[in-house]
């Protein structure tokens, strides 16, 4: 019931907000904040009862929904989805705080933000294919309107592009879902049951994995499916960007963890090289594209493409480790190889969490804090912000360092784990990807040089960061540091579930 409450509370809040007076702008944002805080509080309240050592599904709830074809309302969390739930709750609250000064149609904006929360929570707790797909598609509608109504000048184009890309990707995924259901022949759409009980032949796994791969890769987004992302990010209002980068992209990689890998291990095996290759291209291409941007927000958007490449690289490496282990007879070597795979998977999950904190912070700083003051996103028009707005400038530098993977901050831990775990499986590719790190460091430092240092081209002075903006930034910064210096905080939850996934991949 806890999860059902979390999922549907925001939707209920959105419905209630329709009856609040339209003229009173203040009441809508406060209401949305209260609802999101309650949802976050319940999510955090699960921390105690959540058994970190248990790799299985917890807080499970199941009910018949469409018994004719075996669709059920089945929700639950494990060590992979619970961290995502926490990030979702936190970033949702902060995104609403960041959207405090939305200047028109407040009522509708905050109602859509609440609907979006329902969809995000739903994706991470759904354990039935149709339920998952429903929330997956439901993500599109509020985001479409958030971009299309409150977005920048090219908002309609960006919103439609975002919508159609994802819709086609998920239509292909839906075909994969239905084929999986029929092939499994279990008469159920249950994700867990099908992953545990169905026996798919390798040929079917290949095609099914491909269908899910396309659906998820569009959302991640992996090169070459990424072209919707810069448009959507640049045009989206700040609150939308934060959720898009922080949460929505993760639903794609989460899909690999929850569905594609455990259900089609041999499909993952067949696609591991392609996936690793596309990941490395994403890492390098995203970094180079970010370096080439004049628009600060676009730079952050491309850096998301780059960072999500680490997640998919870690996933591919897990499949690669399994393939290596199949060729050897020595049990200790197998154990070592599988441990590498586990490490890569843990790293991938860690990058998801870490990027789920860093990218919202960056988008908030770039899209709100700086833009509200300078009214530009072009880096050449900025400069000298360390002296003009020292606190905000320092936070931006902090976020940039976190994003480029400075040790001691959360970004480093995930990337380190991913690289170390992936290296045995894809040596050459990982070495090439490591070069991407240099580019990443380069564009961040260059950005800081252009934005924060120097004299600045404009004479006017801005007020420094205010209390509300600090309230958005500080929780993210605290968590980034905490996860950077004390990785066990997340790993203790991640590792049992990830190790179990690794065993499943290894066919044990």
């Amino acid at each position: 019931m806890t999860l059902t409450f979390i999922v549907f509370l925001p939707l209920l809040g959105a419905l209630v907000s329709l009856f609040l007076p339209k003229e009173n702008h203040d009441i809508h944002r406060k209401w949305a904040l209260i609802v999101s805080l309650v949802a976050l509080a319940v999510v955090l309240g699960m921390w105690g009862p959540f058994d970190a050592g248990n790799p299985g599904i917890q807080f499970e709830q199941r009910a018949n929904w469409i018994p004719s074809i075996g669709v059920s309302y089945h929700v639950g969390v494990d060590g992979i989805s619970y961290p995502m739930l926490i990030i979702t709750g936190l970033v949702s609250v902060l995104a609403i705080l960041a959207s405090w000064n939305i200047d028109h149609r407040q009522k509708e904006f905050f109602a859509w933000m609440l609907v979006l929360q329902t969809a995000m929570y739903g994706v991470f707790v759904a354990l039935d294919y149709i339920l998952f797909f429903l929330f997956w598609e439901l993500l599109l509608v509020p985001m479409y309107f958030i971009i299309g109504i409150w977005g920048g000048p090219k908002r309609e184009y960006a919103a439609i592009k975002f919508f159609i890309y994802t819709l086609v990707g998920s239509a292909i995924m839906l075909v994969g879902i239905l084929a999986t259901y029929l092939k499994a022949g279990l008469g159920t759409f249950d994700i867990v049951t099908i992953a545990q009980q169905a026996n798919f032949d390798p040929r079917f796994q290949f095609w099914a994995f491909l269908a899910f791969f396309i659906g998820f890769a569009v959302k991640v987004p992996m090169w070459p499916f990424h072209t919707w992302l810069p448009d959507a990010h640049v045009e989206a209002p700040t609150g939308g960007s934060m959720l898009l980068a922080g949460i929505l992209l993760k639903t794609g990689t989460y899909g690999f963890f929850r569905i594609a890998f455990p259900t089609f291990p041999e499909g993952a095996d067949a696609f591991k090289w392609l996936m690793a290759l596309l990941s490395v291209i994403s890492i390098i291409y995203g970094a180079l594209a970010a370096m080439a941007q004049r628009d600060l927000k676009k730079m952050v958007a491309y850096s998301s493409v780059s960072h999500m490449g680490f997640v998919t690289l870690g996933l591919a490496a897990a499949a690669g480790a399994v393939a290596q282990a199949k060729g050897v007879g020595d049990a200790t070597v197998i154990g070592q190889l599988l441990a590498n795979g586990s490490m890569a998977l843990n790293g991938a999950m860690y990058v998801m969490i870490s990027h789920g904190l860093i990218s919202p912070l960056l988008f908030f700083l770039v899209g709100s804090v700086l833009y509200d003051r300078a009214h530009t996103r072009m880096m050449d028009e900025m400069g000298g912000y360390f002296s003009k707005i020292p606190v905000a400038g320092t936070i931006l530098a902090f976020a940039a360092f976190a994003n480029l993977g400075l040790p001691g901050l959360s970004g480093f831990v995930g990337e380190f784990f991913t690289f170390v775990g992936s290296f045995p499986a894809f040596r050459t590719l990982v070495i090439i990807a490591a070069l991407g790190l240099a580019v990443t460091a380069g564009y961040h430092l260059w950005m800081m040089q252009r934005v924060l240092m120097g004299e600045g081209k404009k004479e006017e002075s801005f007020p420094d960061i205010n209390g509300r903006e600090l309230a958005v930034s500080v929780p993210l910064m605290v968590l980034i540091v905490l996860l950077g210096v004390y990785p066990a905080l997340a790993l203790s939850i991640l590792d049992p579930a990830v190790s179990q996934l690794m065993l499943k991949l290894g066919g044990m």
Partner: protein
């Protein structure tokens, strides 16, 4: 066929149809006896009342004769697979739950059309109401057809009524053109179909659908194929399956929104019923082998419909092309001619009923002074003028695009599921592939309308930069800048919108009840 002495004249079995006929006549008589200035409410009351009584009869028959034992099922062959039911009037009419489902669909559609017509001033003629009721009667007959006679009868009743209903707005040139076009093309299609009947009769020696299958064993299958093909051509025309769809955009645009809403759903449903009956009865084993042309047309429909819809600036034409694409999807339910497939088709028609009528109700609701709010420009900034209407339209558009949690998603889900489970192999994959691609294209078509509704209408927008908007503004004069702002709002229309929106959401979120209902029609395997 039996001789007259043993013909079972079971009038109870056709009670919904008789009720419709009586209601149509009652409307005409009331118009004669009541004074013209006070007759209007009574005419609508008679029409709506008649439909409600017919629905009541349908409900009663559902639990009565249609649920009865399989003793008098038509033939032991294909029709027997559909459901238990009874054949009456010497086998010319079949009363089973399959028929009744379509009766319910058609009756709900005509009810919505009548209610949508209530606020319109230019259709105070009783004839208009009688025509709608008559067309519904024809659709009802078509759905229950057990022989070529009844098939032809139903088709002609519905067509003749619709030819006139389409052209009913006498002052409107597009309506005249639409009616004329529909009449000429429709007559040609009917003639083709009758020729097909003749060939089939020559081959099998029977007018009963149940006798068709025997024809394959009794000699020339070429004549069977040609005859069957010609009959199907006629039905494809009514379904507006590409390339037999050319009349649809013009007719949809020319007719008033209630008529279009009604015919787009009702005609499709009734023709689909006839198509299922004919295919089930006529085709021998391994049916999908014979239907390759149908799959090609279905893919063509999806492609033509969705791509054409994406470039329309008239929402009625857009919905017409979207209907062409949706018929393509609907044909997927016939892969394998399985119970599961036909159930999926029925569900899809139910979903289409609500979302399509809802969309047309919005078009009607935007209209003023006899004109429908059909141009894309009429939708500009609608959200800021009439948010309720805009949100309802968004729901219908998303449902048409196949987004959960609306009914259109569940409809597509069962269609794809049925197609993949049909065992039709490559044909199924081609159809599913076409569905995936065209879903993206048609989503763009629907989103254009949605984006228009949420676009802030700047003061200068009425004479905006884009060509179509200028054209629309010029065509409709100064009032179009504020089109819809002061449009007559009627409770009848609001009721239709509410029913359509709730139906769309209900079928989307709780499809089980509808699936359980169709389960009585076609037992799930």
């Amino acid at each position: 066929m039996s001789n007259l002495a043993t013909v079972d004249l079971n009038f109870m079995a056709v009670a919904p149809l008789i009720t419709l006929a009586v209601a149509a006549l009652l409307v005409l008589i009331l118009d004669l006896v009541l004074p013209a200035d006070r007759s209007r409410p009574w005419l609508y009351a008679a029409g709506v009342g008649g439909v409600l009584v017919a629905l009541l009869y349908t409900y009663q028959l559902w639990w009565g004769p249609a649920a009865g034992p399989a003793a008098s099922v038509v033939g032991a062959g294909a029709l027997g697979r559909l459901s238990t039911g009874i054949a009456v009037f010497g086998g010319h009419y079949v009363l089973d739950r399959f028929t009744l489902i379509f009766h319910a669909l058609v009756l709900i559609a005509v009810l919505c059309a009548l209610l949508m017509s209530a606020p319109r001033r230019d259709e105070e003629k009783s004839g208009y109401l009688a025509l709608l009721l008559g067309a519904a009667l024809g659709m009802g007959v078509l759905a229950g057809a057990g022989s070529f006679f009844t098939l032809f009868l139903g088709l002609e009743i519905l067509s003749l009524n619709l030819y006139v209903a389409v052209a009913f707005e006498r002052g409107k040139v597009t309506a005249q053109e639409a009616g004329f076009k529909y009449l000429i093309l429709g007559a040609a299609a009917t003639a083709t179909m009758v020729y097909g009947f003749a060939l089939l009769y020559g081959q099998t020696g029977t007018m009963a659908l149940s006798g068709l299958a025997a024809g394959w064993h009794s000699g020339s299958t070429v004549l069977m194929k040609v005859g069957l093909g010609l009959v199907l051509f006629g039905l494809f025309f009514k379904l507006a399956l590409a390339p037999f769809h050319f009349w649809a955009p013009d007719v949809y645009q020319g007719a008033s929104a209630p008529v279009t809403a009604f015919m787009s759903v009702g005609t499709k449903a009734a023709s689909f019923a006839a198509l299922v009956r004919i295919l089930l009865a006529a085709l021998p084993e391994e049916p999908s082998r014979f239907l390759l042309p149908l799959w090609i047309l279905a893919v063509l429909s999806m492609v033509v419909g969705s791509f054409s819809a994406a470039v329309q600036n008239n929402v009625k034409r857009l919905l017409a092309y979207s209907g062409v694409a949706h018929v393509g999807y609907l044909m997927m339910s016939l892969l394998g001619l399985s119970d599961r497939g036909v159930t999926a088709g029925l569900f899809y028609l139910g979903a289409y009923l609500f979302m399509n009528i809802g969309a047309f109700a919005v078009v009607a609701g935007l209209g003023r002074s006899g004109r429908d709010g059909e141009e894309l420009a009429d939708f500009t900034g609608l959200f800021y003028r009439r948010p309720g209407l805009a949100l309802a339209m968004t729901l219908f558009l998303l449902s048409l695009a196949g987004m959960p949690p609306a009914a259109g998603f569940q409809g597509k889900l069962y269609l794809v599921l049925a197609a993949l489970a049909s065992g039709a192999g490559a044909a199924a994959w081609w159809l599913v592939g076409a569905l995936v691609v065209t879903t993206g294209v048609s989503a763009y078509a629907y989103l254009r309308v949605a984006a228009e509704m949420f676009r802030k209408a700047e003061p200068a927008a009425a004479s905006g930069t884009e060509g179509y908007r200028e054209a629309a503004a010029a065509a409709h004069g100064p009032e179009s800048a504020a089109a819809g702002a002061g449009a007559p709002f009627s409770w009848a229309l609001a009721a239709v919108l509410a029913v359509a929106a709730l139906g769309t959401l209900y079928l989307g979120v709780f499809p089980q009840s509808a699936l359980a209902l169709t389960r009585y029609v076609l037992p799930l395997p």
